[in-house]
């Protein structure tokens, strides 16, 4: 593989992991609130979070483009407050990947939390534990397998994301191009061998991710 190809693989991996860093805390908090609490607007939040699963990714990308564009509500705020540009930068890649993988993670984590019997949490409270301690010492460890599975799903989704990424981050080689976009580009340009090489690399990464998570699951038994 050439230097440019290594750079592409490294960039895609970094973007997927960065999106996980966003998805993990937000997704855990959201999943816990959905699994354990009743609050007004819960059904609405549930729907909005799941929307990227059912909408065409290109539509999600279009919405993100509107929100994060320099004239969009989030984009203009970030521009004026932090002088940050999002659209057509690596930040847009992370936002697109996170948005697309969040619903998968939240669904898996929420189910995992719901499967933890509240009797353990209640007992921990009678032993003097506050809500944070209950979450980190009882709920999360008991939901570990489901959360891990959700993390793998989210990572896989982030690595394969195409439609939303290309809408909001474009295809700037070396700056915003991810593996799926590069494969598409290669086929477009008639570079079939290059496309197959990148496809192979994607397969290896996917295989490694599944393997690592299986190992973690086995160890957590």
């Amino acid at each position: 593989m050439s230097g440019a190809e290594w750079q592409l693989v490294g960039f895609s991996l970094r973007m997927a992991l960065a999106s996980l860093l966003l998805v993990f805390p937000v997704g855990l908090a959201l999943a816990w609130c959905l699994a354990r609490k009743h609050w007004p607007g819960k059904a609405l939040v549930e729907t909005v979070v799941s929307l990227p699963l059912v909408l065409p990714p290109v539509v999600t990308g279009l919405v993100l483009l509107q929100l994060f564009g320099r004239r969009g509500p989030v984009g203009s705020w970030l521009h004026h407050t932090f002088n940050l540009e999002v659209v057509f930068t690596w930040r847009a890649v992370v936002v697109a990947l996170a948005t697309m993988s969040l619903p998968l993670f939240v669904r898996a984590a929420r189910t995992a939390f719901e499967e933890v019997d509240v009797k353990f949490e209640q007992l921990a409270r009678t032993l003097g534990a506050g809500e944070w301690r209950v979450f980190f010492t009882i709920t999360l460890p008991l939901a570990k397998r489901g959360v891990l599975a959700g993390t793998l799903l989210a990572f896989a989704r982030a690595l394969g994301e195409f439609g939303a990424t290309i809408m909001v981050a474009g295809n700037l080689p070396g700056r915003t191009t991810t593996l799926p976009v590069a494969i598409y580009q290669a086929v477009e340009n008639g570079e079939d061998a290059h496309a197959w090489l990148l496809a192979g690399v994607s397969a290896i990464i996917a295989f490694a991710a599944v393997f690592v998570s299986e190992q973690l699951l086995r160890r957590s038994k």
Binding site: F120, R125, T126, A129, G130, T137, I138
Partner: protein, 369 residues
């Protein structure tokens, strides 16, 4: 009951469920048994005390501290006092123990000692495990323990924090019958040794007799009667209590001798002989239980100190109980008997009449204390 630590008056209703009313519940020192049939609301009451359920209205106080307050409260309206479960200092042992499956025995028992320095916490865990005979099991997971061991780990986890009040929900119900019978006596020794105010839920009258000092009877979601265990059994306040307590005479007795499965006990001045092959040799006290329909009455007055389990008595009262008559007898202690109206007529049974009483030794049931 004097010197009550816990006093509670509250009501709680789950949507679509029956209303549970705790009226003037008191728990003092020693072991109080909360007794009642399944579905009578015992567990709900216990969970309200532990802070795991919020009563609809009422008051719960413990030694002057308000755990739940403000009458007329519904859905946590402002102004209510609600001390969360974690601040109540209650040791809670649920029916299925709820041992944390991902933690070891030591991890489970030490869970509530987070505020202590690690060394002190570890020492206290070991001390508690030793006291309960669990030494060597520190690194096991709950799934690798027998039912009896799980029960003691759950007890250890609850008492290691030195709680102000111990709440046990059917502590023996999850065990198989031989283990349950063996642990019944052991549990009483452990609980007595702790000396904590304890409220123990059970639906088993023998468990109530074996473990309790005081007793609170619940039926149909309400507290029907409270008092010393023997008093509740012997003088049920109403039909509901009589029904769940059974038609039994329950008497405190001291053990005189145990020979080859034949146990002689003394109830006041009267000696009774019972067949009890499993009676522990070290027991010095017992509750004697005699079912009313096992008591045989004869017209002849028997001489005092005649053969075993035969004595004379005076009729105190005769009452109808369905098709039968319930006769209360004074034979040095109060004894209940059931017989047909025909038999009573033949014997000319009436208050103050003298009769002879016979009870076969196998019909005298002993519960070691």
């Amino acid at each position: 009951m004097n010197n009550a630590f816990l006093t509670a008056t509250f009501r709680k209703r789950f949507p679509g469920g029956p209303e549970i009313v705790a009226d003037a519940l008191q728990v003092g020192g020693g072991i109080t048994v909360l007794f009642g049939a399944s579905g009578s609301g015992k567990t709900t009451l216990l969970r309200c005390l532990a802070g795991l359920e919020i009563p609809d209205e009422g008051e719960i106080t413990f030694a002057g501290e308000i755990w739940f307050g403000q009458r007329g409260l519904r859905n946590r309206k402002p102004g209510a006092t609600l001390l969360p479960a974690r601040l109540r200092g209650v040791g809670f042992v649920p029916q299925d123990y709820a041992l944390f499956p991902h933690l070891t025995v030591a991890g489970n028992v030490g869970y509530g000692l987070q505020a202590l320095p690690a060394a002190e916490s570890a020492a206290r865990v070991l001390e508690t495990l030793r006291w309960l005979g669990l030494t060597g099991l520190e690194h096991r997971r709950p799934g690798e323990l027998s039912g009896g061991q799980q029960q003691r780990v759950a007890l250890a986890r609850a008492v290691v924090r030195r709680p102000k009040l111990l709440l046990l929900d059917e502590p023996l119900a999850a065990l198989d019958t031989p283990t349950r019978l063996r642990l019944r006596g052991e549990l009483r020794q452990l609980l007595r040794g702790l000396g904590l105010p304890t409220l123990l839920v059970t639906h088993d009258r023998f468990e109530a007799l074996a473990l309790g000092d005081q007793m609170v009877v619940m039926a149909e979601g309400r507290i029907q009667q409270s008092g010393p265990v023997t008093e509740v059994f012997n003088r049920p306040a109403n039909l509901a209590v009589a029904h769940i307590a059974g038609t039994e005479t329950v008497l405190p007795a001291s053990v005189v001798k145990v020979v080859d499965g034949i146990v002689t006990v003394a109830v006041g001045d009267v000696k009774l002989v019972a067949v009890a092959p499993d009676f522990p040799a070290h027991a010095t006290a017992a509750h004697v239980c005699i079912r009313a329909d096992d008591v045989i009455l004869v017209a002849d007055v028997l001489p005092p100190a005649s053969a075993r389990n035969r004595f004379s008595a005076t009729v105190v009262a005769v009452e109808r109980d369905g098709p039968l008559l319930r006769v209360e007898l004074d034979c040095g202690f109060l004894l209940k008997a059931l017989l047909t109206p025909q038999a009573a007529a033949e014997m000319e049974l009436q208050p103050r009449a003298a009769v002879g009483v016979l009870i076969k030794a196998p019909h005298i049931h002993l519960i070691p204390r």
